[in-house]
Symmetry: C2
Subunit: 251 residues, 2 copies
Amino acid sequence: MHVGEVAALAGVTVRTLHHYDRIGLLSPSGRTASGYRQYAPADLERLHRVLLYRELGFPLEEVATLLDDPDADPAEHLRRQHRLLLDRLERTRAMVAAVEKEMEARTMGIDLTPEEKFELFGDWLPEEYEAEAEQRWGDSEAWAQSQRRTRGYTKDDWLRIKAEGDDVERRFAEALRSGVPADSPQAMDLAEEHRRSIQRNFYDCPPAMHAGLGRMYVEDERFTAYYERVAPGLAQYVSTAVQANAARQAG
Amino acid sequence: MHVGEVAALAGVTVRTLHHYDRIGLLSPSGRTASGYRQYAPADLERLHRVLLYRELGFPLEEVATLLDDPDADPAEHLRRQHRLLLDRLERTRAMVAAVEKEMEARTMGIDLTPEEKFELFGDWLPEEYEAEAEQRWGDSEAWAQSQRRTRGYTKDDWLRIKAEGDDVERRFAEALRSGVPADSPQAMDLAEEHRRSIQRNFYDCPPAMHAGLGRMYVEDERFTAYYERVAPGLAQYVSTAVQANAARQAG
DNA sequence: GCTTGACCCTGACGCGACGTCAGGCTGTGC
DNA sequence: GCACAGCCTGACGTCGCGTCAGGGTCAAGC
């Protein structure tokens, strides 16, 4: 195969292949009499690995040392790439969660601290996050996928939505005032309505994620303060109702 | 706040902030009498957005036009960033799936075509992949997370593992030869053993993913050929047993 | 056999997003 | 009052290519 074909196959430019040849990262294993580069199947394999490591953010020089390590067999590379990709998956998921927290905060008019906003850029320790996310969101995988529907909302929608949320809040406060238990079917129905409202308007919110939000309402003082300002005891009330509802859905 | 603090908070260097100031992407809203940069909270918010868009691969000039668009309010940015992050999540997931396919192929000594290996780098159309992945892996979310255990395998492990896999295969072939139905408890038990073997050795493999592998064994001719070479009809046999077992686990 | 047009070659310069000194001013603790 | 950390502004270096420039190659069609 010559450069053009390889470039088209791999989705890179010819110039890139020239560059990789020049710096010795990937030199084609042959040349024609007239000097044309000839790529063998093994060269393609190497290119494949190069592109994956590059995608993962390695500088080309480091890629070269990785690939030229005599102790690293193909399986070794696959395992490393697999691990790195899973790290990236986790990191992206954390960023999605952070943006969602901001969205949730914004709809309630709560300001996050600067530290909180930037925390997702800090030096990323997957193990640390893992446990936290697990606890916060439960099955954090299941909800992440289906959230693609939230795209393409217009500004007007958000006003309508805000009104809708206020309505549910008001009825929660009413239930609390008239002594309806937080784990009663009536309160759970309100919680379910709350969940469906989020689901329709903001992002897909399966019961497990909803339960996570519920916990946040009592654990994060700013969310607590938001509800407490509507009515005293409402944060705990909503939290309990939401979690009871989630348990009901799961059971 | 002055540069050093902001840099530490956001996890960037002072030089980066100088650069953003120079190119007009993020100029601090004030200076002290002696010329020190003074960053206000609003500057931090802008920086936060800058870093997220940068992380998502936008060139800085484009980031500037995005942020200076008078029609784009904060919610607009959150929605866009959310959408872009979900795209990235999907793309990373596809790459993970591709690497896993390679791993699976390698353990069976099957070569993937160059096109297949590079397909994940092609111009990425999320919708296209979505349907395919859904069909291939079922609940592709649920299994992705728990795979972090596969890290840190040594070379020796893989030899032991290969022997283990061969053993299960041999017993599958035996069951097929002696007329044990593929959806019988006995065959399903073998399938479960197969799944657990993968789970222990290669990557976490919940029933849904295992069922996906089972489908691949009959749909991808090279995997089919692998099993058929062990015994005629074995590909379909294993596939059926695996999927029956997955259904049993789910029920 | 000759042209045409697509593809290949090797320099060489340019660019984006900073890293990295150099040389000098500022602000705080002892 | 001085040491030392932290701030300033140039200015040059680096990495991973993009983008010409100037010239050779090759299969197709006339």
